[in-house]
């Protein structure tokens, strides 16, 4: 009887040892997998065309429009963004914000290709006025699909009158 019990206990102990060994191996394997996973996640998100996009944004803001607010100079996109925030009008009577949105939309349509057949799936152009009291959208243009990966270029203008204007373009690919 005693011998039989002893044999059973020995068997249980052996089974336990096997289980512990198996668990140790599983834990080791899962740790190694986690390390590989963290490495692969770390290397994937890269903004390749950030510099190109920043140049694009800078060049776009320098484009001269046909809107004259203060004679005789025609306003640039960058100046129009400021005038839009101040709710100025062009000499032609057109609202600067409406004119600005139309002009930027035209420029984006003509210079950025997007869609399923292109690397760029879509883009978002945004200009936001921000001060301690309010945040308002001056320009918001969204084209195509922008739910996947993206690169971002952003530019800030600090206004003498207070607050700042952030202009950004998000390139979705």
């Amino acid at each position: 009887m005693f011998q039989q019990n002893n044999f059973k206990m020995k068997l249980n102990k052996k089974a336990q040892e096997e289980m512990v060994g198996f668990v140790v191996i599983m834990v080791l394997v899962s740790i190694i997998l986690l390390i590989f996973l963290s490495f692969s996640i770390k290397t994937t998100p890269k903004d390749k065309n950030n510099e190109e996009l920043a140049n694009y944004l800078k060049s776009l803001k320098s484009v001269t429009t046909e809107c004259v607010v203060f004679n005789p100079a025609k306003a640039s996109v960058s100046e129009l963004i400021n005038y839009c925030q101040k709710k100025y009008k062009c000499n032609s009577g057109e609202d600067t914000c409406v004119y600005l949105n139309q002009t930027i939309s035209n420029i984006l349509n003509l210079t950025l290709n997007y869609g399923q057949n292109f690397k760029r799936k879509g883009f978002v152009f945004r200009s936001i006025y921000n001060n301690s009291a309010e945040i308002s959208n001056l320009v918001y243009i969204k084209k195509g699909n922008c739910s996947s990966n993206y690169a971002l270029a952003e530019d800030f203008d600090v206004l003498i009158s207070g607050g700042s204007i952030s202009t950004s373009i998000r390139d979705c690919y």
């Binding site: 191996i25 490495f39 510099e51 140049n55 800078k58 776009l60 320098s62 035209n106 420029i107």
Partner: protein, 182 residues
């Protein structure tokens, strides 16, 4: 008698131990194989990343070179009142193109590594190569065209000039550069 008992019991114990060692060896071999496969997979991912990194760095270098060329004094927009980042003086570019055709110094201005330089207006929409007859209502100014094989890299710039009313007018454009090292 003692010897007999030893020979009777030892083969059974020996085979059980052997089985244990065999089991252990199998597990170790399996772990090593798994590690090798995982390592190969990891190296492959890293190599792919490395390739992308090299391509991206080359592109960045090319863009930097294009921007460096755009910021040469021969092209750069410079005005006391109208400071402008990233702006190219289109009049200067057009004059340089005309000079390069007639002046020997400017015809040898570029090193042999640079095979082509081109400026293109993207907005507003225009057509054709610029000549004395159609400037500034034209799309491209080709400054250099010294090879039949091109690998163009480009960067966005503002193409500015003084308009008829005497104020600055900038358009959105691109500078294309082709070099031997691209």
């Amino acid at each position: 008698m003692k010897y007999k008992t030893k020979t009777k019991t030892s083969p059974a114990l020996y085979s059980r131990g052997q089985l244990k060692i065999q089991e252990m060896a199998f597990v170790l071999v399996a772990i090593v194989i798994f590690m090798v496969i995982a390592g190969l997979f990891f190296i492959k991912i890293q190599m792919a990343g490395l390739k992308d990194e090299v391509v991206s760095q080359n592109d960045d270098k090319a863009i930097s070179l294009a921007l460096k060329i755009a910021s040469l004094p021969e092209f750069l927009w410079s005005s006391k009142n109208n400071q402008c980042d990233n702006c190219v003086d289109l009049d200067k570019v057009f004059l340089l193109k005309s000079s390069a055709q007639t002046n020997k110094i400017y015809s040898q201005f570029w090193t042999k590594d640079i095979t082509a330089i081109k400026f293109e207006v993207l907005y507003p929409k225009k057509e054709g190569e610029c000549t004395k007859g159609n400037y500034p209502n034209c799309k491209t100014i080709t400054l250099l065209n010294s090879s039949s094989e091109y690998s163009f890299k480009s960067a966005y710039v503002s193409l500015c000039k003084i308009d008829l009313e005497g104020s600055r007018k900038c358009e959105l454009g691109k500078i294309y550069v082709s070099a031997k090292q691209f």
